[in-house]
């Protein structure tokens, strides 16, 4: 009885049938946004970078930490497309492998931060007590500029990929938490949610079936934005020596190495810089396309 009432109360698409996928009406919008214009360009840019990273073992002529005898600071050539660095490693190979580090950060740390943030946001938006605590914690984290937070965390856990992970999760958690809270507060005032409440649906059920599916789109846009920010954070941290430890490459640490040799070998930084630009630009284009689709 209650299920049928809920089904009747919920708007089509916003409150789907229990066995259906949520929000069927809007999904094609998001998909089509990525099949044209900015969205397509973004997907292509990301796709190329991801493909280069995934295919690194096939494309790279050398291992990422392999030191080639006698190849000290060699300029770009057929044998070494982007030259070699001060400890005789092929910069092109390191660049390809460096993408993998960034992909791990982008596609693992950001979603983890997002999931935790969304959960905290959902919980905090529903109960006043948890809301007060969560918001003050978010205030505390957001009060620190990202790099200051990174330096502080590094002082505790030392430099490394793990620290980059922690920083990205810490930075993204309040962003997604706040966004979820705002969306939830809007959605829960909707008549179909009130109707579900009236017919006795539990809080978790309402959150899971009605609130979250209808808050999903802004979170998706934010996810793309946050991923581009994560590339920047990894780059900045590794550039400052707080990120990935030598000898393992990441795009940020490769840019740092490139800057060290800027006057004598400016080509060192070209490859990693181009890839960071492509990845960040691609993610931003995707986020813009999703945002535009949502508005329309």
């Amino acid at each position: 009885m209650s299920e049928s009432l809920i089904d009747v109360a919920a708007p089509e698409g916003a409150a789907p049938r229990p066995d259906d996928e949520p929000d069927q009406r809007r999904r094609p919008g998001a998909r089509s946004a990525l099949r044209r214009g900015k969205g397509l360009a973004g997907v292509l840019l990301i796709g190329v970078v991801v493909a280069l990273g995934l295919l690194a073992p096939l494309l790279a002529p050398y291992g990422p930490t392999e030191q080639i005898p006698g190849a000290n600071l060699v300029g770009p050539s057929g044998a070494h497309w982007l030259g070699t660095d001060e400890v005789n490693r092929d910069v092109y190979s390191r660049t390809l492998y460096g993408i993998r580090t960034d992909l791990v950060v982008v596609f693992l740390a950001v979603p983890i931060g997002a999931v935790i943030g969304i959960l905290v946001g959902l919980v905090s938006s529903w109960w006043t007590f948890t809301d007060v605590i969560a918001q003050r914690v978010f205030d505390l984290v957001l009060a620190f500029p990202t790099l200051i937070l990174a330096i502080a965390l590094t002082a505790f856990v030392g430099p490394g990929l793990r620290t980059v992970f922690f920083v990205i999760i810490a930075v993204e958690l309040p962003v997604f938490g706040r966004l979820t809270r705002t969306s939830v507060r809007t959605v829960r005032e909707m008549p179909y949610v009130e109707a579900a409440h009236v017919v006795g649906a539990g809080s978790w059920w309402q959150l899971r079936r009605h609130v979250l599916p209808n808050s999903w789109e802004p979170l998706l846009v934010q996810l793309a934005v946050s991923m581009s920010v994560a590339v920047f954070i990894e780059g900045a941290m590794s550039f400052l020596g707080l990120g990935v430890r030598p000898p393992h490459p990441s795009l940020g640490s490769l840019i740092r190495d490139g800057v060290r040799n800027m006057y004598d070998a400016p080509f060192f930084a070209v490859g990693p810089l181009a890839l960071v630009v492509a990845l960040v630009l691609g993610l931003l284009l995707v986020s813009q396309a999703l945002a535009e689709a949502r508005r329309s």
Binding site: Q67, N72, E86, V87, P159, G241, R245, P247, V259, R260
Partner: protein, 525 residues
């Protein structure tokens, strides 16, 4: 004919005169411009200007005498003076604040005559009591000075004459003049401010004005200096921890001298006429790989031997230090009485031998390998070392650490694995290294290495009146054998200090203490 020729003659004469006039005017203008700029180097040293020195690590007041920071070294070298100075090319002491000295026949006392015209920057006269105070300060373990043991071995002070002091030793000290060369004479009245970093009162050619932590130290010319007046108005020591930033600031004219560059940057400046890179002999550093024997994995000497054989030192010298240096198995530069060319080849690069030694030991755990973060030289050496060791079956994990933290670990002996750093002091009397330097000190060192033989040889070299006679050299051979047999420190290369400046900087020097000597330095375009 004449009528026709005269105008030509006159015109030629006029043109010649005009040419001469132009040359005269141009040279007069050049001279004037040169004078306005403080004179050219061609016209000799000129006065004025503030020299901006880029230093890679900041001052830590409690560690000001530990010889472990660029700022502290430059500050101590310009604000303070020692009793004697070693020339860079020998261990023959030369007068500074002490004018002459007389050592007793038994080597147990030394009487020094002091200059009577020296005042501290505070205006107070220098007396023999200040010398006693300075030596007692260095003997105080609280300052963690490397020559603490040697200072503490001075047990008696006769200061009855304000301009002479007689030092009595617990035993003969072969390196007493090393101490007197390194020991800055400090003002007892301002020791508390020195501890806090608010005042550094010495007798040197420059006066301390201010220290802004993590930013800069400002020094001005000492107008009442007893010696030849410095030519510079002052010195500004800027803390620029990133070598790349130092290079950029030198290029952009924000710095005149850069102390913390990588050798790659130095090589780049060397090729440019607008800069000058000076190599100083006699104040050599040595880069080494330390092994903390508190780590049980490193206690096996065969493993340390494998590491010593696995290091491709020549590659490190060629590729990281850009050819400036010599591969080494022992710490001594060629000028040292302990230098032994043959022993220095004991662990020549032999990857096969290293691999064989490792195979005898079986599987090895991953060893932590620490190095000071942010320095391209150390980072490159660490990565080459890591690759060399990996090639023979020894895995390492690189651990870059902040420099001041790194020095604390060195002093406290808390590395817990391998570490890479530079040491100095091998350019002095060899006993100074083995009884004083944190990594080598036979009494207490960063490797937690102790051995009765090493202790005996170190003390034997130290507790004698000469540090250069045949008997001393015999003991150095034994010390060399101790170092090579035990390998708690695995030397990589001896490297000469190199300082990059803009072309307008002239006559800077570097003392045997590795401190900038700016007494006669000047700026001229």
């Amino acid at each position: 004919m004449r009528r026709e020729r005269r105008p030509h003659l006159l015109r030629g004469l006029a043109l010649t005169l005009a040419g001469l006039l132009v040359v005269a005017v141009v040279s007069a203008c050049s001279s004037a411009v040169g004078e306005a700029n403080g004179g050219g180097s061609a016209s000799g040293p000129s006065e004025g200007g503030v020299l901006r020195v880029g230093a890679g690590s900041d001052l830590i007041p409690a560690s000001v005498f530990t010889n472990s920071s660029d700022v502290a070294n430059t500050l101590v070298g310009t604000v303070y003076e020692s009793l004697v100075d070693y020339p860079t090319d020998s261990l023959e002491p030369q007068p500074r604040l002490a004018t002459s000295w007389q050592q007793s026949d038994d080597g147990l006392s030394l009487t020094l005559q002091l200059r009577d015209d020296v005042t501290f920057h505070s205006g107070r006269d220098l007396t023999s009591e200040d010398v006693e105070f300075s030596i007692r300060t260095w003997a105080d373990p609280a300052w963690t000075v490397q020559l603490q043991r040697t200072a503490a071995a001075i047990t008696g002070f006769d200061t009855s004459d304000p301009h002479a002091i007689t030092l009595t030793f617990a035993h003969p000290l072969s390196n007493v003049f090393d101490l007197l060369d390194m020991l800055p004479i400090i003002d007892s009245e301002s020791i508390d401010q020195l501890r806090e970093g608010t005042a550094y009162v010495g007798t040197g050619p420059f006066v301390f004005e201010s220290w802004t932590p993590s930013s800069k130290v400002v020094l001005t010319r000492n107008e009442d200096y007893w010696g030849e007046q410095p030519l510079l108005d002052g010195v500004e020591i800027d803390v620029v921890t990133d070598p790349q930033a130092q290079a950029s600031q030198l290029r952009s004219g924000q710095l005149d001298v850069a102390l913390g560059l990588t050798d790659r940057d130095r090589e780049s400046f060397e090729k440019d006429d607008a800069y000058s890179v000076t190599e100083f002999k006699g104040a050599e550093n040595a880069i080494y790989l330390g092994a903390d024997l508190a780590n049980p994995d490193l206690r096996e000497v065969k493993l340390r031997q494998a590491i010593a054989y696995a290091l491709d030192r020549q590659r490190i010298v060629d590729e990281v230090f850009r050819g400036a240096g010599t591969p080494a198995n022992l710490p001594w530069p060629e000028s040292s009485p302990a230098y032994d060319a043959r022993a220095n080849q004991t662990y020549a690069y032999d990857a096969a031998k290293a691999e064989e030694l490792v195979s005898q030991l079986g599987d090895q755990p991953t060893l932590p390998l620490a190095y000071p973060a942010g320095n391209g030289n150390f980072e490159a050496v660490a990565q080459v070392v890591q690759a060399n060791l990996e090639a023979v079956g020894i895995e390492t994990k690189l651990e870059p650490q902040e420099y001041s933290q790194f020095i604390k670990q060195l002093i406290g002996g808390t590395f817990g694995g391998l570490w890479i750093l530079e040491h100095s002091y091998a350019q002095y009397t060899p006993s100074t290294l083995t009884v004083s330097a944190y990594p080598f000190n036979a009494d207490k060192n960063a490797s937690h290495f102790s051995s009765p033989a090493y202790q005996k040889h170190a003390d034997g070299a130290w507790q004698r009146d000469s540090g250069t006679d045949r008997g001393a050299v015999r003991i150095y051979r034994q010390l060399n054998q101790d170092l090579l047999d035990n390998l708690f420190l695995i030397e990589i290369a001896v490297t000469p200090p190199r300082v990059a400046t803009t072309a307008k900087v002239h006559d800077i020097g570097l003392s045997k203490r590795n401190e900038l000597d700016l007494g006669r330095a000047y700026l001229a375009d």
